[in-house]
Symmetry: C2
DNA sequence: TAGTGGTCTAGACCACCCC
DNA sequence: GGGTGGTCTAGACCACTAG
């Protein structure tokens, strides 16, 4: 296959772009297939062409086709059954993201407008519990950020976040107000790449102060989500407690059954 | 590589078993690596041998090594960084299952003894909402199972499940009481293979009847989890509402960050 | 039996990280 | 520069499903 350095995905014959400048072939193929699936070319549970046919069509190896299919399978866009074929996933599955979203992205995905009201943003010493989960000594200074999160202007949640910042890193309140998403700043400005998060979800009653901030009656059931976020080096970087009003739902897709 | 039909994983030289009767090489390799990791041969974030070295050691192709590594990566057992190496995941990540567990398995994983108290088990006509999610006509008969779930004898949750059974399938109350796990029966007896579930999690206040069954005060915040379970053909099979007491936590690991 | 996805190989080159 | 993981290929054979 000739090397090209297109920014476009396709050459004149409709083949995928190769070469050092472009995305991996299997990602291009996945994007192409996803586009076809989302444009409604395949109904729910409709079969896709066989892997060998796709390889011929796109002029790539079958292994590359399989990588693209596995990628889309992880995203819930399609699924493969041994001996039967590969099929378009039903709409209900396709909409559910299994991945980690920031509040900002999640809200946009739900069709809402995200907002925030920063209640507090200051350096605090780590208490024993938080020091333990973030792998630091007690009293190590952490950046605490307490925010009311808004959807379409209405309060939906309280976020209380403790951040272990790299030495010398600075995060200004104005910057957070301007950008909205804390994670975007971590990624783009501070070089912190989140890789995984460990979450624990439960229910609690709203305390009077929390109730006031969220505009609900004290004692109202709240969804509480505690999260430890890990960097790409698997260093714990953030501990966060989120309390959401009852109308807010936490949605997820779980795949693969642990029973064999 | 010679074909063998061992039930054992290794031959005399310590190589993995090949041949038609044995598990895929990459799964054997993954099991072997996982065992080494769990036995503490590698500390948190300790580097594993390079892929090429593992391939030599185990006498398999590098691609097979990569498949094994990807499998363990999905399970949170290890992680790979481009250009740096492959590393043992920290203990906190390793413990979190990202997969679908039944209440029975989940409770066992937490070190508890699961139990149940079947409140109701009968055929009921589907109402509009449930008919919609299960893709059946209104009034189609469904099997409704309402249970109090127990951990170490104490009530921790209410499960209200609506099942679309295959024509002619029968599920006896005594069978469920004896086996404990509904999903085991679905898989082993009815040929229903769960593949994915879509979940929505939130918080609600306990109603008087629910409070009585769970042994909490009315108005106590409960964690509510609604679930639609899909078969391997992506047919919705079960709609289930679960309400858990505040002490019960729903834990999960989320990987891959949606921002690139 | 024909067609599908699943596993496996051997080798090549690219991209990234760190010394 | 030397080592690491990431991508890609061409071909072979196995395992499963369905008509």
């Amino acid at each position: 296959m000739p090397n090209k350095t297109h920014t476009d995905n396709r050459d004149d014959a409709g083949r995928l772009a190769a070469g050092t400048g472009s995305a991996p072939l299997y990602k291009q193929l996945a994007a192409d297939l996803q586009h076809k699936l989302e444009s409604g070319q395949f109904g729910a549970n409709a079969p896709l062409p066989a892997e060998r046919d796709l390889a011929l069509t796109y002029q790539v190896s079958r292994d590359t086709v399989r990588k693209a299919i596995r990628l889309l399978e992880e995203q819930g866009v399609l699924y493969s059954d041994h001996g039967r074929g590969t099929f378009a996933a039903p709409e209900s599955v396709r909409q559910m993201s299994r991945f980690l979203d920031s509040f900002t992205e999640d809200t946009i995905n739900r069709g809402g407008t995200p907002g925030q009201n920063i209640l507090l943003m200051e350096a605090v010493p780590a208490n024993m519990a938080i020091a333990s989960v973030l792998h630091v000594e007690t009293s190590t200074p952490l950046l605490r950020i307490k925010r009311v999160r808004l959807m379409n202007g209405a309060p939906v949640g309280l976020q209380d976040s403790y951040l272990k910042l790299p030495a010398g890193a600075v995060l200004q309140r104005g910057e957070l107000e301007r950008r909205g998403s804390l994670y975007r700043i971590l990624i783009e400005d501070l070089g912190i790449k989140p890789s995984e998060s460990l979450e624990s979800v439960g229910a609690v009653a709203a305390q009077p102060d929390e109730a006031g901030l969220l505009g609900v009656a004290p004692g109202t059931p709240l969804l509480i989500c505690e999260r430890v976020m890990l960097s790409d080096r698997r260093e714990p970087v953030e501990y966060c407690e989120m309390r959401y009003v009852p109308s807010y739902r936490y949605k997820t897709r779980i795949s693969k059954w642990s029973l064999d």
